[in-house]
Amino acid sequence: PNSTAIPPSLRNTTRVFWNAFSNFTGCHHGQNVDGLFRIKKYFQRFGYIPQTYTGNFTDDFDDILKAAVELYQKNFGLNVTGELDALTIKHIVIPRCGNPDVVNGTSVMHNGPRLHTVKH
């Protein structure tokens, strides 16, 4: 396509890609949804699925994705539903820092036990 006809903000396919996460709103455990493997990559990028997992991601909403969604929801203070509900999806597409939230399987954001806390 003639890229000049596309607004600058939409020329990059990745931006469209992140917006496309909205299509997964309502997805839950047990479903198979075309393209769902991409959101698994998102969660692995930010540490919610261990980097040690090297298998090919499928489009199945499996236990791995459910656990990742739950941890993400817990970290950001969302309702822990384990589903890709509207609030969770809305939060996922917010621009963010590229550094992971979970390192070596340990959540670095959860309000519970942290890697380090100091009481003042």
């Binding site: 600058p8 990745t14 992140w18 917010i94 621009p95 820092c97 590229g98 550094n99 954001m109």
Partner: protein
């Protein structure tokens, strides 16, 4: 606040840190001034000092704007998505996505016509936190919270940020310890990211 595993930090004998910009990025003094202000916010509450030098190869901290795959295994993704990333001490690498619509100065309101404008200083303050050893925070108002809404300016350290950095490096004796101003909360809806 959180720290990276192993609590890496710059060594005690290196409280005067240098930073340099990638010479392949022709940045104006105005842009460099944004980073200087961002470093200053952390220097204000610690004994760390930051000096801009020309030598990119010998500097403690290196700053560059890049697009897509830039060689560190963490490719940027174009407009929005991930905005920047930085490595824990003593790496000193600070990378920003050159595809973003970075706002360098002026009132963010005047950039409402620009799709997905992102305030550069806000992101710089956050990433410098990583360079110094802080991880992401679960405190939404803190600088080290991992997300930032487009059109939002958030540059003031919160108590959470100050406690974290002072755990790593101690307090600036000249810092009076008063709570920093609360987070600036100007915010505008921008498309579906509002």
């Amino acid at each position: 606040y959180t720290l990276f595993p192993g609590e890496p930090r710059w060594p005690k004998d290196r409280r005067d840190l240098t930073y340099a910009f990638d010479p392949r990025n022709p940045l104006t003094d105005e842009v460099k001034g944004v980073f200087a202000r961002a470093f200053g916010r952390w220097a204000e509450v610690t004994e760390l000092n930051f000096t801009n030098i020309e030598s990119f190869t010998t500097s403690d901290i290196t700053i560059g704007f890049y697009t897509g795959d830039h060689g560190d295994g963490e490719p940027f993704d174009g407009v929005l998505g991930t905005l920047a990333h930085a490595f824990s001490p003593p790496s000193g690498k600070f990378h920003l996505d050159a595809d973003e619509n970075w706002v360098v100065s002026g009132d963010l309101d005047s950039f409402l016509s620009v799709t997905a404008a992102v305030d550069l200083e806000s992101v710089a303050v956050h990433e410098i936190g990583h360079l110094l050893g802080l991880g992401h925070s679960s405190v939404e108002e803190s600088i080290m919270y991992p997300t930032i809404t487009t059109g939002k300016r958030k540059v003031d350290l919160t108590n959470d940020d100050v406690e974290g950095i002072q755990y790593l490096y101690g307090a600036n004796p000249n810092f009076n310890g008063t709570s920093p101003p609360s987070t600036t909360t100007r915010q505008r809806d921008t498309g579906s990211f509002g």
